[in-house]
């Protein structure tokens, strides 16, 4: 039995050419790896390590002296407040993302139809809520919603309406935090959708018009299919960020009244840092991960499928 298989001359020649080509390619990939290494290290230190550490923390008891496995999650699942926070986080994130997408879509169309120089001005102005640091804009909203000196209530009072308990009532409190999130987040959707709109070839609209398509049909059969991936990616990205939102609720209501506006991040902070129960706080914040993973898998799978079909 032969241990060595002799290669025919043509194959050997091709292998030599391949090796010559692989040389610079390998060098290029090493250079690329070295150039991304700082970023990889940064992510490892600032993202991977804290994530693993929080998993470790979530498996400890309150005094952080003994391992309790999934005991903290078992404890949380029995708490009425925890399930209330789950419901509120879902309500907060889903409602806010739907409205942000809707408003972003409508405003993007308006801006798209504004002529050149004017469009730049509108684009800049509409981006303002998104570029102001949220902590600052939330403080302004806090003054507008102030329980005793609300500017909105002052205006409503001129028409004999109110006062509205913007942050003092459970439902109004939820409305207020969602409203502020929509105000801050809509420009992001607007700018993404505007970019997508600009990339739709004009010929498609011209062809649709020749075929006698009306406004709705052009939207239904040209615009939306061309924007589907951007809509999905933007919604996913925004859902993740909105689920993990902290500053808006923290500044406007601090989770009140009677815990009715808490979301995962604010409740985790309340339990972990203010209440001194770091493992329980870590467990609450980790509970977001499976929810977001499921959402991300579904959306990304859908995008991939469409990509393959294309």
């Amino acid at each position: 039995m032969a241990d060595v298989v002799l290669q025919p001359p043509v194959t050997r020649a091709l292998a030599r050419v391949g090796a010559r080509r692989r040389g610079p390619l390998r060098r290029k990939s090493i250079i690329a790896f070295l150039m991304t290494l700082p970023l990889i290290l940064l992510i490892a230190v600032l993202v991977v390590y804290p994530a693993l550490y929080s998993i470790h923390l979530a498996t400890l008891n309150k005094s952080m002296k003994s391992f309790v496995g999934l005991g903290n999650f078992a404890f949380l699942f029995k708490r009425e407040t925890f399930w209330m926070v789950v419901r509120q986080s879902c309500l907060f994130a889903i409602t806010a993302v739907i409205f942000k997408a809707l408003i972003g879509f409508i405003v993007a169309h308006f801006v798209h139809n504004v002529p050149g120089r004017q469009q730049r001005k509108w684009r800049g102005m509409l981006l303002v809520p998104w570029v102001i640091p949220p902590a600052m804009s939330c403080l302004a909203w806090l003054w507008l919603f102030d329980p005793s000196y609300s500017a909105f209530n002052w205006i409503l009072a001129q028409f004999g309406i109110g006062p509205v308990p913007w942050t003092g009532d459970a439902n109004w409190g939820r409305f207020s935090v969602i409203l502020v999130n929509i105000w801050i987040g809509s420009p992001f959707f607007m700018i993404m959708y505007l970019a997508a709109l600009k990339s739709v070839p004009e010929q498609l609209y011209e062809a649709a018009e020749i075929d006698g398509a009306n406004w709705w049909q052009r939207m239904r059969y040209v615009t939306l299919p061309m924007m589907r991936n951007i809509i999905a990616i933007t919604a996913l990205f925004s859902l993740i960020v909105t689920f993990a939102n902290f500053d808006i609720v923290r500044i406007l209501t601090a989770g009140g009244p009677i815990d009715r506006t808490h979301v995962f991040a604010t409740w985790a902070f309340w339990l972990g840092i203010q209440g001194g129960d770091i493992p329980l706080g870590a467990s609450v914040s980790l509970f977001m991960v499976p929810i977001l993973t499921v959402v991300a898998v579904f959306i990304l799978r859908d995008i991939n499928r469409r990509g393959n079909e294309a």
Binding site: G168, A254, G275
Partner: protein
């Protein structure tokens, strides 16, 4: 070119000589011979409030040859709590840290016992109040030293004119500047009637029911004055008791006379309510008065800080102390203890209280007679009773006497005010009590 030639023999002899000289030389005390010390103080909100502590510590450092570094860490956005959590996790950081109310117990096993320091300080300054003992002792040891900086009492701050006109109560006569209180008639029932009268007169009391400290402090103290502790000192849940029911009934009546938005109040809401001229009474340290002095002097000259109304179980004042603790990972415990002794000397405490404009409160019974409180104005004597100079009320913290590790959860989760708001919004009393019992059962985990 000259080249020095060193033989092996001469090198050995010179090295031996040098070594002998080094060993035999007298010890020369350097600039920082006693090592270094880092301190994380609470960043005072009063402009210039940090100056006194900085000066005292610097002078101590120079005298004792210790290289001291101080960081002033704000409590805005819970920055100090985050730093404490980080240092506890990393077992590295400052040697001394300013711990807010509940934090010494939270980290009791990571703090150096300071029994020797406290023995000296109690001998010099008198006993500490029951709240300090409750919060700074664990397993029979002192684990932290009460700090005057940041410690505060959140008793009533009343409008002299409105209380007189609308409720027929003369707060200056009840708590006269320079002499003991004559406040036997100042009870929770009297306060309820005054709240009704002031509400009808268009100046409701500004007592919040939100989830922040000012709101929780008042509610916890009123519950305690009715004997309505949610958990007793042995850790038994005592939510479904007559004391708690009585406190809830009292609050049901009181909330009728409060502004409707009180469930949304934070720690600034009551201040704004007072300074704008709306409220006839709030529960707050003199910070509201200090801001009024600057922004609304006509309101400030009508303000009088005084004691809490008594309940069926006694008169209790909402006290919120700060502490200085030494981390076990400190490499200079001896120096840390010495600087804490220095900071707690009467003259130094007075300097820090003066720097805070009288806001800071020492916890020792002999340190309640500084001139700053007697001389504060307008009106003259407005802060005289702020430090409880006649020990007319017992200083207490909301959720005391529950074991501190449970009490901190009751406090931070604002169980008292949430109970009141639920009841106020129409929930049945027994349902509210059942909810509170369920919540507190969850806090019992170790």
């Amino acid at each position: 070119m000259l080249r020095a030639r060193i033989s092996r023999r001469s090198l050995l002899s010179k090295t031996a000589l040098a070594s002998t000289a080094l060993v035999a030389a007298p010890y020369v005390r350097g600039a920082h011979a006693a090592g270094s010390l880092s301190i994380g103080f609470w960043d005072h909100w009063v402009p210039g409030g940090n100056d006194a502590s900085r000066k005292i510590v610097q002078e101590w450092g120079e005298k004792n040859k210790v290289n001291v570094s101080i960081d002033y860490i704000t409590s805005q956005g819970q920055k100090n709590l985050l730093t404490i959590a980080a240092e506890a996790q990393a077992e590295s950081g400052h040697d001394i840290f300013a711990f807010p109310t509940w934090m010494p117990h939270e980290h009791s096993d990571q703090l150096v016992p300071v029994d020797d320091v406290m023995a000296d300080l109690i001998k010099a300054n008198g006993n500490v109040n029951p709240t300090v003992e409750y919060l700074a002792r664990a397993d029979g040891h002192w684990i932290a030293v009460p700090a005057s900086v940041g410690s505060q009492m959140k008793g009533p701050c009343s409008r002299i004119d409105l209380m007189k006109q609308l409720a027929n109560i003369d707060v200056q006569e009840m708590y006269p500047a320079g002499s003991p209180p004559k406040a036997d008639a100042w009870t929770l029932e009297t306060m309820l009637k005054a709240a009704e009268a002031c509400h009808k007169g268009g100046h409701p009391f500004g007592i919040g029911l939100g989830i922040t400290a000012d709101n929780v402090d008042t509610a916890g103290i009123i519950f305690h004055a009715f004997g309505g502790d949610l958990v007793d000192d042995k850790g038994n849940i005592t939510v479904k008791t007559d004391g708690v029911r009585a406190a809830m009934e009292y609050y049901r009546k009181l909330t009728q006379w409060l502004p409707p938005d009180v469930p949304a109040w934070d720690d600034s809401s009551n201040n704004k309510n007072l300074i704008s001229g709306k409220a006839a009474l709030i529960m707050n340290p003199p910070s509201a008065w200090a801001v009024a002095k600057r922004d609304a002097p006509q309101v400030a000259e009508q303000l009088w800080t005084h004691g809490m109304p008594a309940g069926p179980k006694g008169r209790f004042g909402p006290f919120l102390p700060y502490f200085w603790g030494i981390w076990k990972f400190s490499k200079n415990v001896a120096a840390a203890k010495d600087v804490l002794r220095t900071l707690s000397q009467r003259d130094n405490v007075e300097k820090m209280v003066v720097a805070s404009g009288g806001y800071d409160l020492p916890s020792y019974e002999k340190l309640t007679d500084f001139k700053v409180w007697a001389e504060a104005e307008p009106p003259k004597g407005t802060l005289f009773h702020y430090p409880n100079p006649y020990h007319h009320q017992i200083q207490w913290v909301s959720a005391q006497p529950a074991p501190p590790k449970v009490a901190v959860q009751i406090y931070t989760q604002a169980v008292h005010t949430k109970m009141v708001v639920r009841f106020m919004k129409g929930e049945k009393l027994e349902d509210t009590l059942a909810w509170a019992e369920g919540e507190i059962e969850g806090y019992m985990r170790t």
